[in-house]
Amino acid sequence: MGNPSSSIKKTDKMSEATLKRQKHRLSSSERQLEILDNHEAVEIPAFQQKMEKIDLFPLRPKGIEIFQVNVGKMCNQTCKHCHVDAGPDRQEIMSKETMQQCLDALSQIDAATVDLTGGAPEMNPNFRWFVEEISKLGKGIIVRCNLTIILSNPKYHDLPEFFKKHRVNVVSSLPYFNARRTDAQRGDGVFEKSIKALKMLNAIGYGMPDSDLKLDLVYNPSGAFLPGDQIELEKQFKRKLQRGFEVKFNNLLTITNLPVSRFLDYLIQSENYEDYMNELVNAFNPVAAKGVMCRNTLSIGWDGHLYDCDFNQMLELKVAGDSKHISEFNELTLSKRNIKTSQHCYGCTAGAGSSCGGATT
């Protein structure tokens, strides 16, 4: 089990540049899917087979509660686990026209929450306009803010105030409560800057007791292991961040790393792929399988294409059916689709389950 299957060859050394910039073979979604689809190579059952056994295949949506928009792949960071392969060199940015199409779709549906992600979503030049327009529709807004963006350029220093004005739920990644593991995953100096940004958010009421400004942190393990109990980790994070830095937040959301893009590359490079996939399969939880996020989420790519989730988006697995682009959005057609799956989906069904909103059980 220690050695990955001979069909999965190690690739060149890991680098801080995006896979796309390196012209890395895993920057191709076809190549990633070839690896993921070949479940026999790592001696695991097909995800479809597991789901059939519990009458969940084909997997069907339950309605759109969360409308998740990836407004672009540009980011000021190049995190080692990033499933988007985001970074400063990525040019894919959602246009204002596509944003308008998202708003048109949103005005037709009951989805309560719009979840904005990237890249660093704030780097899209129309980000603020988009947030203002969504706010006018009366939807709850989540912004997946990487924290360091706030300090990266004076033009972003007022982001906390902007978030406050629109009652944005700020959701930020912080893989650990110390610099070593955080910087190892997210880049040198990221922990220190993240703490500064958290203090700025706290200072205007985010994450504070008796405040309705919500600041949640995301914990992804910084390595080839699954997250532990969300409540236990939250207690630790709260204690350590309070004692060490006087930082407060609301909830800790534990998210399992899925074997997609740079995390897939890491798993193969570190010879952990086979073990990790087996660990995910061994932790398969039928209750988590029932509550996977793709059943209540629609994911919209920077170019307007529709996906079952952000991971399928990065694997370029467009939704099944005739409503494949936001310009042809049709809620009824989408509600009848079958959700596309492969072996990466084991990441969402392991243990207490995993979603963009944390554990699902």
């Binding site: 089990m1 593991r181 390595g223 292991f225 699954l226 236990e232 630790q236």
Partner: protein, 114 residues
């Protein structure tokens, strides 16, 4: 594959020990599960104790199991290593405290001045 006394695959087969003695095996695993539940000590504290003991008894299976368990629980590198130093201190101390016995015997058998 090179044959060794310890094979990490065997850890996953730990449950198989019930095959040849179901009743005692089941009792052991029930007990084991209860021991590690949150109690007067937190599950996290118990995991660190288990890690230290694993190194004391030098059980490779237990070291693998409680290193993984610690990572999942968010236990950091310093905490893990400090737990091992507790084990090391007790182990070292156990040797050195017997030095008193050695000293006693030397004093009995060797003429003392003064």
């Amino acid at each position: 594959m090179k044959e060794t006394y310890y094979n990490r695959e065997d850890l996953k087969k730990f449950g198989n020990i019930t095959e040849w003695q179901q009743e005692l095996g089941d009792k052991f695993f029930d007990y084991y599960t209860s021991v590690f539940k949150e109690g007067a000590l937190s599950a996290r504290e118990k995991s660190l104790i288990a890690l230290a003991v694993a190194h004391t008894i030098q059980c490779p299976y237990c070291i693998d199991a409680y290193t993984s368990d610690g990572l999942k629980r968010g236990i950091d590198e310093e905490e893990m290593m400090e737990a091992l130093h507790v084990a090391g201190a007790i182990r070292g101390g156990a040797s050195l405290v017997h030095g008193v016995q050695m000293m006693n015997q030397v004093k009995e058998k060797v003429m003392q001045g003064g």
